[in-house]
Assembly symmetry: C2
Homo-oligomer: 503 residues x 2
């Protein structure tokens, strides 16, 4: 028999091998979305298949089961990284093994097909084409929840997969409060506010200048170009290959500099998170963000809290104007207001930050009802359209701009959407604590070096990777649980300024 | 028991999986030599290790042994691609399995260390530092040859690994003839010739223009940019990920346009070979060049036979002059002569094409003597220096420009060097046959479209990948075995023109 110490060494080597395959797979993903020649993608699909399968097979292998069986009784003797790597491996093992293999295979096949059909249905504006697949996915997902088990609410089980510890009970009350605040603010803006003039931003800025400007900001943020890259793509993303190789991507519109600049700040936030994991987490399943929500909190912190603040633009607008003198005709305040215009829109990914949470709440409420059997796919489109009318005052006329706009459900990813809004709430909570702990924060944001901000985030959040649960990070950092007040406060102040409201 | 048909299906699926891992590994290699951020390489080494090991383990696995055992007796019933995939798998299996596992591991470790030490020794100009490693490598390699077995000459076994079917008997006579011809020609050039003026090429050409010019030529050659890329690197190479994704790389020197332009033509020749494999070879071990020598014949065909011919520059010099008007002051003939200057040099990779084969012959003769026990590492440096004096009339003063210039021996790659010279001989033989079969060849080379040339190469060489042996391709294409006469004829004609000799 092996000693615990020997098994631990073998376990860590096993995880390291899995991490290497994940790194290879991530490189394939990066390449396929940035560099691959047009005709190369078909053959590359086979590579993705083989690597994904190998990783999955390791996760549910008998070898993994044996590691868990041997080490779990000795968890208390293990160092923290090994113990939590064991927990995470066990979580993933159980998640997959509780589903009968046959049903899991059928499900995998179904979502692969469904994603294709979704793409076609979306192009054809025809939800009816996609509905039968979605129905089957919902049926299977409901069944999976029974296999996985649940306590208070069936949807909790799904939430927990993306945001460990999050529950419907917490989210219901937090989202209600946030929704009321946003609706009230939007009402006031409509009645009493002066909408900024978006035409002020219609300045053509060459791609190279946009890139130079964005790279200046990335550098100020603390993005390490020796441990990362910036490339072009169609749908921007950030991807960490290893701690010292985290890549971001963007696309440019010469007539809309906001797209690339804010996109790069956002992806930069994700990347800086991964560049600052504790190096000891390399090769373990903890070398990832704590959760979807915490990851999003980092990108949104930089994009929305920092990058959309007035203080931020005091110095950066000078740099922008230097690069693109056409902006010099627009005073900073007018520029800033124009950049923060808020409008109802049908498409989530095009929404501004004030309306964005409403898009998420709509999806949250529909998912929750679907998973608890209170809503059926047959009634989903009507429910979707009604919610948009209720929350945003507009009603989709085309499925492609309505219920078919997101791929998530086609992939079976129920429980994922709330993370986007949670990220924003977390970010505002972190910022509030940061303000308390860094008294010079305003000056830092107005300066050309955000190092103290990056260091604060690394100290409290980045370094831990998946070593802490999201709510643990939140509590340890801010002393509180989930609390939307700071976000509400920030939104009120920002839009009072942008819309010239009396507070 | 499985039927032969079932085993065949499983065997092909097994090979396809191995090919997918190879594709992933090649992407990692490409990335590490082109795009990876500086700090990312350390972590990536683990990925290379894991993927290489998986591929190797598949090649020598019990599963592979079982496929071979089951299918070999039924080889005659298999389709050609499966049968030859089986042969190739069997060859690789035997190659590795004939060496006792313990010795193989020791050897792998030794060469990994030796490559590092070689790098240090080279930087320090100190062969003595590297010599003990080389001695051990030679000892092990000699032992391996005993394990592998040999017939006429021990070195044949090593030659066969890079150039199947090639023997010392053939090479000795071919190289002797070629050497005599080159020595005679060089003597005549020295006595009666007028050396061209290399200063005519000292034109500064911006990087972008060099790239535009090279891409024009690649397009004429038939390189498919939808199935490939061109990127920057330090040590240029071509790498095929799959049939529709073959990437080349180059580096630019603004004061020496020849480096990038001829480098790109060379790598383009490699890439066009791989872009035109029969698609049915995808996923099998036959989706590779027939041999090192045949692969080199394709790059050298484009670089040396086509790209360094006077006819080629008739049209391309116009394009070059259009992009870089500074060339307009130099008449085409003078430009062409200057580009084909030949001089003795110490470093193989900087040699012109007339002296290049001599560099190869020196290595060939030393390797052959080492492997047959007629020379020891203790005497190698002296032997190297003497050969350079004898063949090229110059003697290295520094080990880094002498015996330490190539990495091959540190990697244990004895038998590899001859492929470079074979590639040149093959290319000249192919060209001679092409001249006979394409009567308009001169006009094609002078034109802006080399499609008939690419098609001829695809028909006779490209499509077969590893489906045919190198000498089979040579015989089927030219009707002859290895014959240096066509290369000798070409060199004589070219240098008579360049050096204004009376023929």
């Amino acid at each position: 028999m092996n000693t615990v110490e020997e098994t631990k060494t073998e376990f860590l080597a096993f995880l390291k091998k899995k991490a290497a395959l994940e790194e290879a797979l991530n490189l394939v993903y990066w390449d396929i979305r940035t560099k691959i020649p047009k005709k190369g993608t078909e053959g590359r699909a086979e590579v993705i298949g083989v690597l994904s399968e190998q990783i999955f097979e390791m996760e549910v292998s008998e070898e993994m089961a044996a590691f868990i069986a041997t080490l779990a009784p000795h968890r208390a003797e293990l160092d923290e990284i090994t113990a939590k790597s064991l927990d995470e491996s066990n979580r993933v093992y159980a998640l997959n093994k509780k589903i009968p293999a046959k049903e899991f295979r059928a499900y995998s096949k179904l979502v692969a097909e469904a994603e294709n059909v979704w793409g076609e249905a979306r192009a054809e504006n025809d939800f009816a084409k996609f509905a039968p697949y979605l129905e089957e996915i919902v049926t299977m997902k409901r069944k999976f929840v029974e296999y996985w088990g649940y306590e208070q609410n069936k949807y909790d089980t799904l939430l927990d997969q993306y945001e460990p510890g999050m529950t419907v009970e917490v989210l219901d009350s937090v989202f209600l409060k946030l929704r009321d605040a946003i609706m009230t603010l939007r009402g006031k803006m409509a009645r009493e506010g002066t909408a900024p003039n978006p035409d002020l931003l219609r300045v053509t800025m060459p791609r190279e200048k946009q890139q130079t400007f964005s790279e200046q900001i990335l550098t100020k943020m603390g993005f390490d170009f020796d441990a990362g890259r910036l490339d072009d793509t169609i749908h921007p993303f950030a991807i960490g290959l290893n701690l010292h190789d985290v890549r971001i991507t963007t696309r440019y519109d010469e007539d809309n500099f906001k797209m690339a600049v804010f996109g790069i700040i956002h992806e930069g936030g994700h990347a800086i998170y991964e560049q600052n994991f504790n190096p000891k987490l390399a090769g373990t399943p903890l070398k990832e963000g704590a959760s979807m929500g915490i990851h999003e909190s980092q990108s949104l912190f930089y994009e929305i809290i920092l990058g959309s603040s007035f203080a931020f633009w005091k110095s950066n607008y000078k740099n922008l104007t230097k690069l693109e003198p056409k902006f010099a005709q627009v005073p900073l305040e007018d520029f800033y207001r124009a950049a923060n215009l808020s409008e109802s829109s049908l498409v989530r990914i095009e929404a501004d930050i004030l309306t964005y949470p409403l898009h998420i709440m709509i999806r949250y409420e529909l998912e929750k009802a679907l998973m608890n059997g209170e809503l059926e796919v047959a009634d989903l489109k009507e429910a979707w359209n009604n919610k948009y009318e209720e929350y945003l005052g507009i009603r989709p006329e085309k499925d492609s701009e309505g219920i078919l706009q997101d791929i998530h459900w086609a992939g079976g990813d129920f429980g994922y959407f709330p993370s986007y809004a949670l990220g924003l709430i977390y970010a505002a909570q972190f910022f509030h604590t940061m303000e308390r702990e860094l008294p010079e924060l305003d000056q830092i944001i107005e300066s050309d070096d955000y190092t103290p901000i990056r260091e604060w985030l690394t100290e409290h959040i980045h370094q831990y990777g998946k070593l802490k649960k999201p709510l643990e990070i939140l509590k340890d950092t801010t002393g509180e649980g989930l609390n939307p007040d700071y976000l509400i406060d920030l939104l009120n102040k920002r839009y009072e300024f942008v819309y010239n409201l009396k507070s």
